[in-house]
């Protein structure tokens, strides 16, 4: 499955880039995300529950960030095991460009699912992936729109540090 689209966010490129690299923001915005920890500068450990068609699966996965062009682009490679539901793999290139009054985030992703997810979810997987992406960017915009200084935004956009993150993440 190939997914290629873009989203406009009402924030400057530097702020958008920073948020895209912030585990707490990502955790807040990824639909169904339960935990998201940075295990190194370029590796995230993620637990998320995703429903694809009739299959609901709790994925435990690792996302690696590489090919980083700071402020402009990075690539994500992720794979997650969903237990008896199967597995999912993702390769994505995320590119940021200046937009009118904000930033355009372009993404091109190839995803692969296996097991029961493919067997009974294949028909709805494209639509589900698009809906998940929409949901992510809607929330992402909300987070970025929150005026700096408000408590929620402050806590979310706190300096990136896995050690002092929400205890629930530990």
């Amino acid at each position: 499955m190939n997914l290629e689209s873009e989203a406009f966010v009402p924030a400057g490129r530097a702020r958008a880039w920073s948020a895209l690299n912030d585990p707490l923001v990502l955790r807040e915005c990824i639909p169904g995300c339960e935990t998201l920890e940075a295990s190194s500068a370029t590796e995230l450990r993620v637990v998320a529950t995703v429903k694809i068609g009739p299959v609901k699966a709790r994925f435990k996965g690792i996302v690696t960030i590489d090919d980083i062009d700071p402020g402009n682009a990075y690539s994500l490679t992720g794979s997650g095991a969903g237990g008896i539901a199967g597995f999912a793999k993702l390769v994505a290139r995320v590119t940021l460009v200046d937009g009118d009054g904000g930033t355009i985030i372009r993404y091109a992703a190839q995803a692969q699912v296996g097991g029961k997810l493919a067997q009974i979810g294949a028909r709805v997987i494209d639509a589900t992936a698009q809906a998940l992406a929409r949901s992510f960017f809607t929330r992402f915009c909300e987070v970025l729109s929150a005026a700096p200084g408000q408590p929620a935004a402050q806590s979310i956009l706190a300096p990136r540090c896995a050690d002092d993150a929400d205890p629930a993440v530990q």
């Binding site: 008896i84 296996g114 097991g115 493919a118 067997q119 028909r123």
Partner: protein, 806 residues
């Protein structure tokens, strides 16, 4: 003795459209399937399946699952390898065939998406499934071989490291003169075919309860299986239990179509679990599991050509067939039989002078394929009949006429096909003539022409077919498989004059018991309501092959006829002793001992049996009351009883949407002696529907990574009643002379030729556009692609096919 065809006497049931006895029980919801069985202390099994088409198992952690509520055991491949001996799906008469040994659960690698990896036994299925979520399996994904064509290339990585390539079996049939014939021939027509794999989708899924009692060393298995004795033998040998202590019970079964006679990993794991735990263990496959574990069938890429002389005489056919069979050859019947029958049945209705076929059976990382209703026939028939239609178009000869000109003449039997099939007596000419009259062929052509002028595109497709039925021991036994080609029956006269018939043929919903009962009642001379037929229990019925390859009526029916005649002889001999007369002057009619000819009544069977069972003191000296008879019958002579027929399909193609409406379907079939026309007609109709399913709807779609992407009834289309046409049936009756009964099989005839007729019909409909297609199923997308209405979006579904070697 009355001949089976004497219909002007009492109890003349053979050939009569009697309603099925005992069928109301199903309407009343009183069917008893494996799913309905509940045993004390019974546990339920669930399986964890591989999400990868090909992967190495890196690690398995079952500790959390084992501690879950209700869980009794979580087992891996290693745990069961000491309980169950491995099995290998090869047969000795397929020279050079190879397939690795299989175990219930894998040890190191998974070879298809859906392969069971872990089995869990718990107090309920829900608890077992909950525990499944707590098992952690780490895999290292490996490249998958999914496409059979690339899988058989010498560059392909073998999916089994112990082998050098992915070829399970190869064979070549060659009469020798094909190249010269092709060079000389006035016309050579070629087509490349692709057949999508599909599966059986039985109403009742696979189901099993294994109950091992260590104290008696007794294994009882309730199994939704076609072949109880085959499984008794397999369980005895693979679990090292004396055969007499293995009892297999096949209760009511909701359809099988060949799918329920193969060894499945889950079933062997369930028996293993019962042995390990000493408790009954039940497993019923859910529909999602069925799609990735029931056998699939019919994945073939074929390149074929036909040669004709300038007058339209068919001279020769040349065929390359590559068939993908999944990760292992199935057991015990193998996955080579289908391909073998494809290359041996191509061209079978016609008088060929030369023939060549090369078959490659290829391993892939997909579900196993094996025997499914009409094994190989639909492929062989579609290839043959499409080529005949293409040839007819090339030569400008009407396709009906070209067939009638080239089929083996009805007076040319017995004869043998170029592929070695011995034909006793077929009736192609009679069937084609009857079909042509039934469908008003000439009027239909005029109607088609007329409608084309109005922009309505209808097509007529015709297909002649040959069906293999009643196989003898040269089918499996010769290759070392312990699969019986004979059947047994025990007939018992009860004290009240009823009759119990215990037979080794089995019932899966098609009416076997009714058919057997009619034969027994007919031959014995009792009302058919007084016969009770009992099937499907190895502790009760005699040993026999059961139901597959359209053998129930031909072999099981002949067994019933012979056992009834033997019991009748015993009854008349006893009656003669009682009545102090010669037994040859007596007969049985409607349960009464009568004088032959005058029909004067002497005593009822109840009187006679009562005397024998309760007052044997009053029997005259020397009277021998043998009122139970056991009898076996094995086909001899011809290795198979071939049947034949012809089908036609009338379709309308919507050239804007690619949708096809099947307007009407006709079948003329010759299954020899018909025992119950209602049952035969419904077998034919059901078979046609399955053939039309393959033609238009059914396909197991895999992505390039080996993931099945339509494994549910939402996405996998089965033919529905609303899409099915009226199916008109005609018969030609040519009884086989190999048995007294004269019956051949009819169970697969509909499926054998329906998709070929549909393929020709759709091509006939779109011929005015210069369009053609040779891929099944004929989905709207493929039809629109063939019409050029949409860009060639078929790239993902159009595959490479094997090339002819010049």
């Amino acid at each position: 003795m009355d001949s089976p065809s004497t219909r002007d006497r009492a109890n003349a049931y053979i050939g009569r459209a009697l309603p099925r006895l005992g069928i109301k029980r199903f309407l009343a919801g009183r069917g008893r399937y494996v799913t309905d069985q509940v045993l004390p202390r019974m546990l339920h099994a669930a399986f964890i399946r591989s999400p990868h088409a090909h992967a190495r198992i890196v690690s398995i952690d079952t500790s959390a699952a084992a501690a879950m509520p209700g869980v009794h055991r979580v087992v891996t491949g290693g745990d069961l390898s000491s309980v169950c001996k491995p099995w290998t799906g090869t047969l000795a008469h397929f020279a050079g065939m190879k397939s690795p040994p299989q175990l219930p659960l894998p040890l190191e690698r998974v070879l298809w998406a859906g392969q069971p990896v872990i089995a869990i036994a718990a107090e309920s299925r829900a608890q077992a499934e909950d525990a499944a979520e707590a098992v952690v399996i780490e895999y290292e994904a490996l490249p998958a071989v999914t496409d059979a064509m690339s899988g058989c290339s010498p560059r392909a990585q073998p999916i089994h490291p112990e082998f050098d390539d992915n070829i399970c079996f190869r064979t070549v049939l060659d009469t020798g003169g094909i190249d010269a014939c092709l060079q000389r021939a006035a016309h050579v027509v070629e087509e490349k075919f692709y057949f999508g794999r599909h599966t059986a989708v039985t109403l009742e899924p696979r189901a099993i309860i294994a109950d091992y009692a260590a104290s008696e060393e007794q294994l009882t298995v309730y199994h939704a299986a076609q072949t109880p004795y085959q499984f008794q033998d397999l369980y005895a040998r693979h679990f090292s239990i004396p055969e007499a202590r293995v009892r297999v019970i096949a209760p009511d079964i909701g359809g099988s179509f060949g799918m329920k006679l193969h060894v499945y990993h889950e079933e062997m794991a369930v028996v293993s679990l019962s042995i390990l735990l000493g408790r009954p263990v039940k497993f019923v496959a859910d529909r999602t599991e069925c799609f990735v574990s029931d056998i699939h069938a019919r994945e073939h890429c074929i390149n074929a050509r036909i040669a004709l002389d300038e007058k339209g005489t068919i001279l020769a056919m040349d065929v390359q067939d590559v068939a993908g069979i999944g990760a292992f050859s199935s057991y015990p019947r193998t996955s080579a039989v289908e391909g073998n029958q494809v290359v041996r049945l191509i061209g079978a209705p016609y008088r060929l002078r030369d023939y060549r076929a090369a078959l490659s059976i290829v391993f892939q990382n997909k579900v196993q394929t094996s025997q499914y209703r009409a094994v190989g026939h639909p492929i062989a028939c579609a290839v043959t009949e499409r080529l005949v239609d293409l040839a007819a178009a090339r030569l400008g000869i009407d396709p009906f006429t070209l067939r009638a000109r080239n089929v083996i003449r009805d007076d040319a039997y017995p004869c043998e096909t170029l592929t070695g099939y011995q034909l006793e007596q077929l009736s192609h000419e009679a069937c084609l003539a009857k079909l042509r009259a039934m469908m008003n062929y000439d009027e239909l052509r005029l109607e088609q022409q007329h409608l084309r002028g109005r922009g309505i595109y209808r097509g007529i497709g015709v297909a002649a077919f040959v069906e293999i039925t009643n196989p003898g021991p040269l089918f499996y036994g010769v290759g070392g498989a312990r699969i019986s080609a004979q059947d047994g029956a025990i007939l018992k006269l009860t004290p009240s004059g009823d009759v119990h018939c215990l037979t080794s043929v089995t019932e899966q919903g098609q009416g076997t018991e009714a058919m057997i009962g009619q034969i027994v009642a007919d031959q014995l001379g009792v009302a058919h309501e007084r016969i009770k037929v009992i099937t499907g229990d190895t502790d009760v019925t005699p040993h026999g092959g059961a139901t597959w390859a359209s053998r129930g009526a031909g072999i099981g029916g002949e067994t019933a006829l012979q056992v009834a005649r033997r019991l009748k002889t015993n009854i008349l001999s006893l009656a003669a002793a009682v009545l102090q007369c010669d037994s040859s002057t007596l007969n049985i009619e409607d349960g009464q001992i009568v004088t032959s000819g005058t029909r004067a009544r002497h005593m009822s069977l109840a009187d006679l049996a009562g005397l024998a069972y309760f007052r044997s003191d009053r029997l005259p000296e020397g009277a021998d009351a043998q009122l139970s008879v056991a009898h076996h019958f094995s086909p001899k002579g011809y290795p198979f009883a071939f049947t034949n027929g012809a089908q036609a399909c009338w379709v309308e193609v919507d050239i804007d949407t690619g949708l096809v409406k099947v307007l009407k379907h006709w079948i003329v079939e010759d299954c020899g002696r018909i025992i119950n026309p209602l049952l035969v007609d419904e077998q034919l109709r059901g078979g046609v529907v399955q053939g039309l399913g393959a033609a238009f709807f059914e396909e197991c779609l895999y992505d390039e990574d080996g993931q099945l992407t339509n494994g549910s009834l939402v996405d996998y289309l089965v033919p529905m009643a609303g899409e099915m046409p009226d199916i008109e049936i005609g018969h030609v009756e040519t009884p086989t002379a190999q048995t007294e009964l004269g019956a051949k099989g009819c169970g697969e005839a509909g499926t054998a030729g329906a998709s070929a007729a549909a393929l020709n019909a759709v091509n006939d409909a779109i011929a005015p556009f210069g369009a053609a297609l040779a891929q099944l199923p004929m989905t709207p997308l493929r039809i629109l692609s063939a019409l050029g209405c949409i860009p060639d979006s078929n790239a993902s579904t159009r595959r490479a096919v094997p090339e002819h070697v010049e």
